[in-house]
Each structure stands twice: as structure tokens, then as C-alpha cells.
Amino acid sequence: MRSEALVLTFAFGYLALLFVIAAWGDRRAEQGRSLIGSPTVYALSIAVYCTAWTFYGSVGRAAEFGPSFLLIYLGPTLAMLMGPLLIRKMVRIARSQRITSIADFISARYGKSSSLGALVAVIALIGITPYIALQLKAITLSHAVLVNYPEAADFRLADESFWNDKSFWVALVLAVFIILFGTRHLDASERHEGMVAAIAFESLIKLLAFVSVGVFVLFGLFQGPADLFGQVAADPALGDALGLGAVPGGATGWFGTLVLAFLAFLALPRQFQVLVVENVDERHLKRASWLFPLYLLAINLFVIPIAMAGLLLGGSNDPDSFVLTLPLAAGLDGIPLLVFIGGLSAATSMVIVETIALSTMVSNQLVMPLLLRSRRLHLSSQGELAGWLLGIRRVAIVLILLLGYLYHALIGDSYSLVTIGLVSFAAAAQFAPAMLIGLYWRGANRTGASLGLIAGFLVWAWTLLLPGFAQSGWLDDAFLHQGPWGLAWLKPYALLGLEGWDIYAHSLLWSLTANVGLLVGISLFTRQSPLEQTQAALFTEAMHPGLEHTPLWRGQTTRGELRSLLGRYLGASATARVLDNPGDARLDDSDPAPSELIARAEQALSGALGNASARVLINSVVRGEALDLESILSILDTTSQTLEYNRQLEQKSRELSRIGEELRAANERLRELDRLKDEFVAMVSHELRTPLTSIRAFAEILRDSDSLPDEKRVHFLDVVVKESQRLSRLIEEILDLARLESGRLTLHPQRLDLVALTRHSVDAVHRLQEDRGVALEVEIDLDEAPVVGDPDRLEQVIINLLDNAGKFADHDAPRVRLHLARHKAHFRLSVEDNGPGIAPDERERVFEKFHQIQRQGESAETVRGRPRGSGLGLPISRGIVAHLGGRLWVEDAPILKGACLVMELPSAPG
């Protein structure tokens, strides 16, 4: 009856039934009457944890290692007890952030890092593909046992063509199933209702199958438990089979496996998929937290009886196949077929969920970031990328299944079932620190998580993966016993000399030590980016009621930009669903998008592409930075405020020192002015006293001596008059100077001809100069020189210059030369003499008040006879010229070789 055809009919008939159930589930979901909206279905879907490894391997493990198989289920029991606290938090985060996989979850927690997501995806691929291979191998093996019994089921795939291998065809059917029911929506964070319904159904089938065979063994082959265990007790070989002594590694091995199962249950990609992504309602966790452990207990209840019965009755068979061989040996046909279907259901459910989880990771964490980085996609983006995305995911599904099948076909023969399972568990456990610590410790950061993951993964590969290859004969196994390059402390099973441990406990200890150590250590010494801080706050405070509706974005963009971005990646209908609310239908595409809308758009993209890629895309259209209130505050507290204070203090102190400098300079100037004023007063007093003294002296002579000849009297009176004139001129000059310096000198500028004015001035002094014997030469190159000036004052300046020149000209043959010429837009009037000239360092000082040049070789006596100057003429002249917009300076006399004073005035406009 166990003909090949019958077995195949049943197997593929069962798969067809799965299609029907899944299609029904999806139809019901579309009608809004969900099949899976119950906590019981949720608990059954979590039972995807029980794979073919459980179904066949538990018995094998119980036969070999005693009760240690139970640890694989006690760990998840602990995890599920924590479910209403721990998993609920994960579910809530996943919902609000539209998490699609565990890689997405870890990447989102650490600042939506695409590199971290890719790392998790790669580790998952390497660690989990063998596990898929294991399921396919179980199908091949169980089929071979079923068909070939009682001949040995020593099926070697290498001897057969792959089209004779049933698991190849099963994998093919599964690929179709997963593509049909696992990629219905672009949004991977949406639930696959039909698939979950099928998984829940499969969980029932495998439980039913396993319990039936258990009941058959216990009550069909034996007369109840008492009979069975009586026989076990009687067999001395089995005396120790159920004690701790049979457990590898004893107590430490026991504890290590418990922790391993606990962590793996939370971190396996398929468990994350059913626990978190496919969760309909977080309240379901309450029921599932005890219903799922109950399921585990039920499916394990008969493991020990079957294992013991197998050891008692069919000791020569492979313990992994006891479930099949026991009923076969009893000559039954129905139960073996049911067992085969049960095993098939366990294997297929695992392959389905794991492949969906892995393909989502591959498409969202590995392929999408690469595509987004390449320019071509952006340029050719007018077409719809939605189809592309699903295509990528479908190709990934086929490739992952193919990879699993190849692994199974090429090296699967050399592994026992249990080994692969626990090796995969240990790989998945590496995700647990980044995930769990990240859920509760806000300080964990991306660098720490990445390095921790890498280190944990490397230690795992060294202590479990490579030794596995070596034991399969793929590598030279010398390094297992001597260590690589003879380094004994690097031996994979006894790292740092830690001997005598169970290999899984040993690997877990070192990999988790490295993983957690780096995660915590590096996080303590590096900083988080603002986005990381925000995400860390959102994750750790996920259960905080106020946090749920915090609008994240402060950036700016328009509706139109969001619409085209979403349209490109999600398609038109999904875009309309996200962007259009009935309430704001009148809004234009050029309006700025409100922050809630941007957040909705990012969530929608996250569901389809993963958090990291969505972030990149949103960043490409939104300008601005996203920060939630708490992180803004914390950033302000730690850095900005201090920086602001520092900046202000620095500015203040700079201002103060600048003001101090100014004050010092002002003080200096005041002192200087004070000194100048004192000097000035002293000079003025001196200058005034000289004429006064002589006036007084001559006046006294005139008063006291009556007998003075008339001639003398006239002379003395003449002197008095001259000195009085000089005195009044001096006072006039001082007043002029005072007015100039205080800026109160009133000039009456008007347009005038400098040529006429010069001639007029020359005429005025001509007589006087002639009297003194000064030869005055006048050279005027122009016909007229229009300037703007006060004629009286300018005349005063010119007379002063001529007068001065006359005084300082050569003693014996004094010559003075006046020259007026145009120089660019100016007129230059220079007066030179043939005197000794002025030394270069004296040239500016002649414009100081009361400065008088002492002629060399001449004492004050010899100057007598010439009218002495007051020393105020040049300062006043310069002041007047400056007021009229001109300049007055000293230079070398070009012709007479004495001093030359040059007055320059701008020519009048027009």
C-alpha cells in the first residue's frame, strides 16, 4: 500500500490543501472576516518553531542525550512567559515603525543604519540556510524510509539525480506557494493572512501526527507507560539514558542550551516574523504566553516514550527515524503515512516562514540599498518600481530555496539533524544582544552593535561552523585537535584552554562575551548621531503612552514631491491611500506637506523597502532634521547649552578687551592733548609777552623822558604801533587757530579764479618784498584756474607762503619763486626760496604750532631786522587749505634749491 504513487499523491495533495487554506485565508481577509484574528491561531503560528528537527530530531536527541532535548522548548517557554512584556514591546515598535524583519528592526534601532541591516541579513543567510537545507533533507530522508522500509534508508543523494529527489519538487512547490501567498503585498510589514492560516493548520497537523504515533507506541506497542518504563528499567543499557549524565556538558551544558534556546527563540528570523510582524493584535500575546508553551509540552510529551521504545525494539535504526520506523515495524500503513505528512508539515511550515523572512531581508536590506545607491535607478525612475520590488523579493525566494537545496544536496549528507539545528540557533542568538539590549538601554549605539555582531559572528564561525565543515570532511580537521598553526589556545572547541564544555555552551559563552562586551564597551565610549538618539528613545520608551503620536519630522517638502516619490516606489493606488485624506482633498500638490504626512509617507516606504532605504528616500526630498522632543532636550542639555554659554562668554570677554584697548588709546590721546595744550599756553604767553614788553618799555621811556628829541619820539611811537599791530595780528592768528581746531572757522566758499587771486596777492606783498630786497619771480602757466574757496582766506594763505619764503630765503641775495600750474584735476601753487631748505624729518614739524626753524649758524641776534613769525602761519594755512579740500606740504625746491611749499586745490567742477 505504501507505493511511491500513493505517498506522492498524499504529499502533493497535502501541499495542494495548503494552497486552498491559504487562498481561503486571504479571501476572508479581503472580506474583512479575518481567519487569524484569534490568539489561538497566533499561538499555533508561533509553533512554526517546531520544525522537522523537532518532529524527527527530538526523538533522536532524546535517545542519544537524554532529557537535553527538552531545553530547546524550555527556553522558549521562558521567553513566552516574558512575552506580554518583552514581545509586546517589540510588536508595538514594529507596528509604529513598520518593521519588516529582524534585520530591519536592528537597523531601525541603531539609527536606520543600512550597513547594520545588511550585516544582520548576511549573518542570517549564512546561519539559517543550512537550517532550510535540514528541512529538505528531512523530507528526502523520511520519504526514503517510508518507501524503502524495511530496507535500509541509506539514501545517498549523490547517487541520484536531483529529479528523483522528492524534496527538490517539494521545494519547487513551496517556492510557488511562497511567491503566491508571501508576496501578495508590497508592504512586507502587512500580514500574510493566508500564509499564517496555512501555518497554523500545519501546526495542528504535526501535533496530531506526533501525538498519534506517541499514543500508538505507548498503548499499541506497550501496555501503557508503566509497561514501557518497566522494560526500560530492566534494560541495564538504558539505566542512565534519562539522567543528567547523558546531557553533553553536564550542568553547564544544560544551562548553556537553555540560554541558547531562549535567545534563539526571540532572534530567529522566522520567529520574529510570526511573533512580531504577523501579530494581529498585541493582546493575543496574553493567551499565547501560556498556550504556546502548552503546545510545546504536548508535542514533547511522547518524545521520551518513543525514544525509549525505539531503543528497546529497533536499536539498529537511526534514532532520528524512530517516529517512522516504529509504526512501520509494526506493519501499519496509515500511521506512517500520517507521520510522513506530519513531518512534511513541520518542514514546509518552517521553510515557508523562514524563506519569507529571509527574502524580505535580502530584498530590503541587501538589494534595495545597493539599487538606491546606483544612479541608474534614480534616473529611470519615472516607471513604477513597485513591480520591481516584488520581482526582487520573488527572485530572492527562489534563490534562497535553491541555496538551501544545494546545501542539502551537496553537504547535507554529512551532518546529523541536530547539529545543524543548534549551529543555526547559535548564529541567530548573535542578534539577541543588539536587539534586547537595544530595547532597554538607550545608550547602545550603532558602532557597538555592528562590532559586537561581527565579533560574535566570527567567534561563532570559528567555534561551530568551521569545525562542522571539518567534521564533514570538507576541511582538514587537524586544527580541531592541535589548534591552527599549532596554537593550542585557539582550538575551536577549547578556546583559551576552556576544555570539557559542551561545544554549544562553549561557543555561546565566547561569542556572547565578545558580542555583548563590544556592544556595551564601545557604546560607552562612542557617541550617537541625532537620528540614533531619536530611534533609541523611540525604542526604549516604546511603551510610554505619550510617545506614540510624536510627530517626528521638522523638515519641509511639498505634497507633490512626496506623491511622486511614493508613486515611484509603491504605485498609484498605495500612494493615494497614504496621501489622500477625505478631509484635505482640496489641497494642492504644491502645498507644503505637514509633518504627519511626511511621517506617514516614510512609514509606508519603510513597510515596503525597510527603514534604512525609506530614510534615504525621504531624505532625498525632505529638507530638515528630525528629532523628537526628548532628544532635542537631551542634546540641548548636554551640548548646545554649554556651547552657547561658552560662545557668549568668549564674545563678552573679547568685547571687554576691545573696549579696554579703546579706553587706553583714548586716555593716551587725552594725555597727549593735555600736554599739547600746556605747551600751547606756554608758547602763547611767551609770544604775547615779547611785544607787550617792548611796547611797555618804549611807552615808559616816552612817559619819563620829556627831553627826548622829536625824531626819537616818533621812532619810539612807531615801534609801539608796530608792536601793537604785531600783537593784534598774533591774537587774530590764535583766534583763527582756535576756530580751526574747534571746527568753528566759518569759510565762505565761492567759485573763484586762482590765477587772479594769486596775482592780487603777489601785488599785495610785492612792495614789501622789494623793500626787503627779495627778488620775487612769478610764473603762472594758466589763463585761469577755477577753484572753490574763500577768497580772503586763500589770499591769506598765499601771502603767508610768500612772506615765509621771503623770511627764509638766502640772506645775501634772497630769491622767491611762485609757480602756479595744473596737476591732473588739481591746481598746484608752489612757493620756493633759495634758503637753506628744510631737512626731511623737519618737514612735517613746520606745520606744528609755534614751531620755528632755527637757522643754522645764525643766532637770534642775526635774525633781527627781519619780521619774526609767530609760528602759527603754516598751521593756520594748512587748516584753511584742508577745509577747502586741498593739501599743503613741503618738498624739495626744484629750481632755487631751498624749501618749497606746495598748495594743491581741486579744480572747481564744471
Binding site: 512567559l81 512584556l85 526500560v232 543528567l244 549524565g245 544544560w254 544551562f255 501560556w290 502548552l294 509540552l297
Partner: protein, 66 residues
Amino acid sequence: MTEPRRRARLIALTALAALLFSPPLVVIFDRPSEAGPSWLPLYLFLAWGLVIGLAAWLMESREEER
């Protein structure tokens, strides 16, 4: 039952389960029965069942806290 209280009980139950499933207690129960095989599997199943029962009672009870 108020939420923080349920939370506390849940944590306590998990701690109890972890204790029951871990070495010191496991080693104590790892002794051969008169019949021969170790008591360990039986103990584990009983402890497991007890924990599941307590969890079910904790999760499903709707009575108000006194």
C-alpha cells in the same frame, strides 16, 4: 488586576520558571527512581506543567484586585 501588579507577577513567574529549569534544582532531581530511570524527565514535565498552569491562571483571570 492592575497592570503593574500583573507585570510584577509575570516577572516573578518567569524567575520561578528559570529557577525550576536550571541546574541546582535540576541536579537535585537527577536521581534514579527505584524502577531505574532518572526522575529528571518527570520532574521537568511536572514543573513545566505547573508553570504553564500558573501562567494561564495569571493571564486569564479577570477578577478585580482586592
